[in-house]
């Protein structure tokens, strides 16, 4: 049913193709971030910024498609909200990748951050699966539940990381700020992906 309602025109199909591309780019950015963190590869970390810029271009295309009249008017706000929320995830990833350049992470904190990066990647992949399921008109309950489980996991790790952080010695204020901002951007990603999946759920429900 959803596909019938969404894909009746070229404009809609174009927008949906761009939205699919947007979420795929997000998965690539999360994967690049994870790998760069794991391998301590600064050059690879820079590709996160490149992917964010590419994501930005796709986001503008989608907004253009929607303002050109794609989709029924009552669907547009939630579709736009979904796109903006995905964009917010890109921003958090890019900010975290920038702060990472000024940091030397090691030991327990590096280990925990890498684990969060893996969970963020899994959440992005699950968001893609959820989006595809929505296009096919399938039930999203299992998928959104999986995203909530991941988010809860990251939430638990957030509390633990904040305790670990208190034991880390920093050279000066700026190093402490960079570390704190890096962590808050990294752990904020799961919240935004959960919000994006909620948007998909709302869109799906509103079609019934």
């Amino acid at each position: 049913m959803f596909k019938e309602l969404l894909s009746f025109g070229k404009k809609e199909q174009k927008a949906l193709d761009h939205m699919t591309r947007h979420v795929q780019l997000l998965c690539s950015a999360c994967e690049a971030f994870r790998e760069a963190l794991e391998k301590r590869d600064f050059r690879l970390m820079e590709t996160v910024g490149d992917l964010e810029r590419e994501g930005d271009i796709v986001r503008r295309e989608i907004i253009g498609n929607i303002y050109e009249g794609a989709f029924l008017p009552y669907l547009r706000p939630n579709l736009l909200k979904f796109v903006e929320t995905v964009d917010e995830v890109f921003d958090l990833l890019k900010a975290a990748s920038r702060y990472y350049r000024d940091l030397v992470l090691e030991g327990e904190i590096l280990y925990e951050c890498t684990r969060i990066a893996v969970l963020n990647l899994r959440m992005a992949e699950m968001l893609y699966i959820t989006f595809q399921a929505m296009l096919k008109g399938e039930a999203l309950k299992d998928k959104t539940l999986a995203i909530r489980i991941y988010e809860k996991k990251v939430d638990d790790m957030k509390v633990y990381i904040s305790k670990v952080l208190r034991g880390i010695r920093v050279q000066d204020f700026w190093e402490g700020k960079a570390l704190s901002d890096f962590i808050s951007n990294l752990v904020g990603i799961s919240d935004e992906i959960e919000d994006a999946s909620d948007c998909l759920d709302i869109i799906n429900v509103s079609m019934k």
């Binding site: 280990y111 925990e112 684990r115 893996v118 699966i129 539940l145 999986a146 489980i149 996991k153 790790m157």
Partner: protein, 130 residues
């Protein structure tokens, strides 16, 4: 899906000579259900003490938690698995050994703990990925 993705890396330790009262205090304070008991001169092997051990082996028997040593009620050995073990294999091991948690280890080091709730959560995610 591997256990390292879903394990909890927050592992708390307690000395074997500490009292069960200390263990209760630690578990309540940290909101956790198990503690790894460090090896001591008397008990060479590390063990695990769980909320279940405390309730069934001490409280239900009307023993004084302040005068029972943690090492006396700890379960041994710790069941360890590699971080790359699949969550379904971990669930099978838990069923086979009749334990509610297994430890994720690398050499001598404990990286985390994988419990029943982690097994259930990961099963939901596997289902969603299909």
């Amino acid at each position: 899906m591997e256990v390292q993705e879903f394990m909890t890396s927050k592992v708390e330790y307690i000395d074997g000579d500490a009292s069960v009262y200390d263990a209760i205090e630690r578990m309540v304070d940290k909101r956790i259900r198990s503690l790894v008991v460090k090896p001591s001169k008397r008990e060479k092997m590390p063990g695990v003490v769980t909320a279940r051990d405390v309730v069934f082996r001490v409280l239900a028997k009307h023993l004084d938690p302040g005068s029972v040593r943690v090492a006396e009620i700890a379960s041994r050995p710790l069941y360890c698995m590699a971080k790359g073990t699949s969550v379904l294999d971990a669930a099978s091991i838990m069923e086979e050994k009749g334990v509610a948690r297994v430890f994720v280890c690398e050499g001598e080091q404990i990286l985390g703990v994988f419990s029943l709730i982690d097994a259930m959560q990961s099963s939901l995610i596997l289902r969603a990925r299909k």
